[in-house]
Symmetry: C4
Subunit: 245 residues, 4 copies
């Protein structure tokens, strides 16, 4: 199939807006399903407002393919550099979630407190643009800075960006949306728990067990719910993975 | 009467979703009114999306009766083990309330701060799956782990689950929904009060007095309100109990 | 005029529900405009659900006048005792606002941090039912306990009730609704500020200046707004007071 | 063009209400586009309720021009004094944002934690009416007090008002609305981060870089989003500034 699932990508934008992960800013992309050297991302527009015609295609250096007069996001390079570095990644979210940002501007590490949130892994790095680029407007508007961020992300699912937000990478659009929403929830839970005393985090073994046993059905159940909340049609997918039975 | 109140169970699901006690995950069940060796629980679907046709029946070991191709919740065993151990329990909620979870991952006990929330009792145990089962994905997907959780719950109304959520057991569907919502409120209140200094909790005598004098009308008044908020019809019930006069 | 403004009282109920001051519980009453020895209060029902036909009349000892089969609130005595003790009071709210409750269960006094919230006065007492009545279910269901609460309130606008909620008394329905909502806001603000360090409260002179210069127009502007949010028609009133010019 | 953009000003009011920056109180004004010695501001009404016919015009001393029986805000002098002192300012917001107020009543300075919020600058002064005017009702209802506030604001974009709220000044209506909303977000983020430890704020160089590179398109993208949330039509503007390319 050559035609990318633009409607699904619109739905992902609306879901992230409805769940408070993005506001006027933040974005979500997919790798093109039949052209892995491209990714699909909206023109520069608030996620809540995006329609299918807004979806553009980009090369892995962030160059727009057939822009048709549409203005791209200045920070499309975030997506480009992650797809460039990580062939297995098929979807990326960049957001400014208000729950997550506090963990990027303090020395408290964000760590998984709950099974649903284990996808962040046992270690979430904080990338600081100032380390290699000095005083900037913090926007990632060119490949060198984007590649520096992608290097900080490494093989992980999540990296925080100091004074800015975070990136989330995943193997599918439903997975990356799921992970961005539960990353936000984990941050909310950890913030609250911090006021009650020392926290028992998930052990490394628990995180590994969650990741190993998770099936696509987990993402499906949530996706149907989020579609309903966002007022978008739900398009069911066949189940995959160890718990799909 | 042989036909279980499936519409009421759908309403309970929608109420718990509307009040933020469940999101895409979490579930509520009832013991079958005429077959006490069965319970009724939706197929694996987000509570906000559930319809009457989604309600399945299960034996007290979690085996589906007449599944008709419907996929059950992997964690139906939580309900099974509580109904098995507690003949007087007629409804069970399992949820991941974001207000409650912090009390399962810190050493601060959840205790009643307000009369509406006394149903949790004076002691709320925290069950940790790691104690007897080691590093797992924390899901309760078989009877041995579910029975261990039910044993930790004992004769109480509420048990927290470390890094996961909680279970709430009650004598009726309206009571268990009420208790799950006010458990969440108590957690919210206790979290806020923790920032202001030492808390005066309800005394044991106060908790006992609340439980002794509570009538079914308390649950009715709240149920009508929650039905209205959830956009569900309200089906009034005759009052029972000491304050029904 | 003999006919009390039942529609306005319904609106007050809906506003308090919409603004989160009451949930399924809590209530608001007015003194009968032409029979000052009576007050008007809904039958026992969630404020969000109340209709004009639900409004009952009571004597100042809490006895229902012409109940017509309607079940009154068990705690109507709270209203009765305040009207009995305070001839100038024409409206009363009792609520369980989640922002306010933490100040009733800790030693941190609730004090005005902002001009809009000065109506609580410079001192907000906390009434504890346990002091004179021991271990109870905390409900104020008879005149002796209600009179004890009214005595704690004294000439003030607000008293907190430990482990329960608060009462707010005012010279008009619009004023008491305004004061209940801004009491909640003050509690919210004070809770947040408590995490940032020592708080500069309004001085006694500032509180006195706010109360002295406040006109009915302040309540009107807010009432129109709250009516719109609650989906209720707005019935404008002529302005009174020092700033009405 | 002589006719001021009243519809845009109504939209600004509705956006600020929808985003929780104003409630029944607070206001937003623009300098008259063709008569710079006038400003446009609603009659005294809650921002959520304002219609185009409510917009009045005022001289820079707060005198109403052609009031037509409409009652002005008692605090219109806040706007008057800022337009009088700052010829480059074309829009002003005064609000009581619940996230911002805690920073006006404690010694913790509000400082930018995130690039979107850099418009507040590196220093946000707190103006205390008590310093020069003693115990008042805190309302700024005459020019002397308003000029004192404007002097505290100086050349900055934001000043907090102790026990009251804040003022935000900008070069356009879209900019000032943007800055008021992201000021609120910064306050929310800083409050949360304060519970996690010492905060890394934006450096002075980063704040300068953000301000220098910001284009009008940033405000446009957000304005379209906020219009949609507030149920108002979006009127697109041509882009200006360094990043508009």
């Amino acid at each position: 199939m050559d035609s990318p699932p633009f409607d699904e990508l619109v739905t992902a934008n609306r879901i992230l807006a409805r769940e408070g992960v993005v506001d006027a800013f933040g974005h979500v992309s997919i790798r093109h399903p039949s052209h892995p050297d491209r990714f699909c991302l909206s023109r520069a527009r608030a996620p809540e407002c995006i329609e299918a015609d807004d979806i553009m295609q980009f090369a892995l250096d962030g160059t727009a393919i057939d822009p048709g007069g549409r203005k791209p996001y200045a920070e499309r390079f975030i997506h480009a550099a992650i797809y460039e570095a990580r062939p297995e990644v098929r979807a990326v979210v960049h957001n400014h979630s208000p729950a997550v940002i506090p963990f990027g501007i303090t020395a408290t590490p964000l760590r998984p407190v709950m099974h649903m949130c284990a996808s962040m892994g046992t270690e979430v790095p904080v990338w600081d643009s100032r380390a290699h680029f000095g005083d900037t407007n913090l926007l990632v508007t060119a490949m060198p800075m984007a590649r520096d961020l992608a290097a900080a992300l490494g093989p992980r699912a999540v990296a925080l960006m100091r004074g800015h937000g975070c990136v989330v990478a995943g193997a599918s659009l439903r997975e990356v949306v799921f992970n961005a929403i539960y990353l936000q929830l984990n941050a909310e839970l950890q913030l609250r728990a911090a006021g009650l005393g020392a926290i028992t985090f998930l052990s490394d073994g628990e995180v590994a067990a969650v990741l190993k046993t998770r099936s696509s059905f987990t993402f499906e159940r949530a996706w149907e719910y989020w579609c309903q909340r966002a007022g978008r049609p739900y398009d069911a997918r066949p189940m995959e993975g160890p718990l799909a039975r």
